[in-house]
């Protein structure tokens, strides 16, 4: 698991900067962020869902993808792996998204489901949806 984790941290580093700049944009008064419609008192939560998904999430998603595509345990997966590169066709992708939905108890909208092509994208979307659900509850 050495290679995937290093890839994740690299991704993190890249996304950390935009997250900070968004924060700055928010403080200057303008609501630049279109998501997160609820109260202002939960600012930390809102910022959290904007960040890239946590490494644990990415690992969990990887496990499910591996299971769905019947890949070997030592298959070389990274957060940026495209499902199609792993040998998935569009039907497999639907199955992966459905499996993720079930695992994380979320519902992925039709449009979003079509746009997921990598593990990282899936993890980010799940993080966002799980966060939204926590807010709603």
């Amino acid at each position: 698991m050495a290679t995937p984790s290093s890839a994740i941290s690299a991704k993190f580093g890249r996304t950390a900067a935009p997250a900070l700049s968004w924060k700055a944009g928010r403080i200057s008064g303008q609501n630049l962020i279109s998501m997160g419609t609820r109260t202002t008192s939960r600012r930390s939560l809102r910022l959290r869902v904007l960040c890239a998904a946590k490494p644990e999430m990415v690992t969990k998603v990887m496990d499910i993808v591996k299971q769905q595509l019947a890949l070997k345990d030592d298959a070389n997966l990274t957060a940026d792996s495209k499902f199609t590169d792993l040998g998935a066709d569009s039907l497999d992708t639907v199955e992966i998204v459905m499996a993720l939905e079930e695992e994380f108890k979320i519902t992925v909208e039709e449009d979003n489901a079509q746009s997921i092509t990598t593990i990282q994208e899936a993890a980010d979307l799940i993080d966002k949806l799980v966060g939204d659900e926590g807010k709603a509850a």
Partner: protein, 93 residues
């Protein structure tokens, strides 16, 4: 392979139908669910392989038929589905 995001409308319809079947299968009992998933998956994969991608009339027919079957399957009284495989090869004399 073509970029993933450029799916045609008819492709998206087919995938939406597949998703609908998988969603509906969840509502059934675990054994039936497994059965439904394997039947549906086999049907979609077989057609994806055997039907010419430009044969729109036939694909539209299949999607229509699938939608009708899905509507039936959504009925809570329907617990599962089964297939009847008629052996097309009649080589035996």
């Amino acid at each position: 392979m073509a970029p993933r995001l450029k799916l045609s409308g008819i492709q998206r319809q087919a995938l939406a139908l597949y998703r609908g079947f998988l969603r509906t299968a969840r509502l059934k009992s675990p054994e039936e669910r497994q059965m439904i998933e394997s039947v549906v998956s086999a049907e979609f994969r077989e057609n994806a392989k055997s039907v010419d991608r430009r044969n729109f009339v036939y694909i539209e027919y299949l999607i229509r038929r699938g939608k009708r079957q899905l509507d039936q399957l959504k009925n809570p009284d329907i617990t599962g589905l089964s297939t009847l495989r008629i052996n097309k090869v009649s080589s035996t004399p």
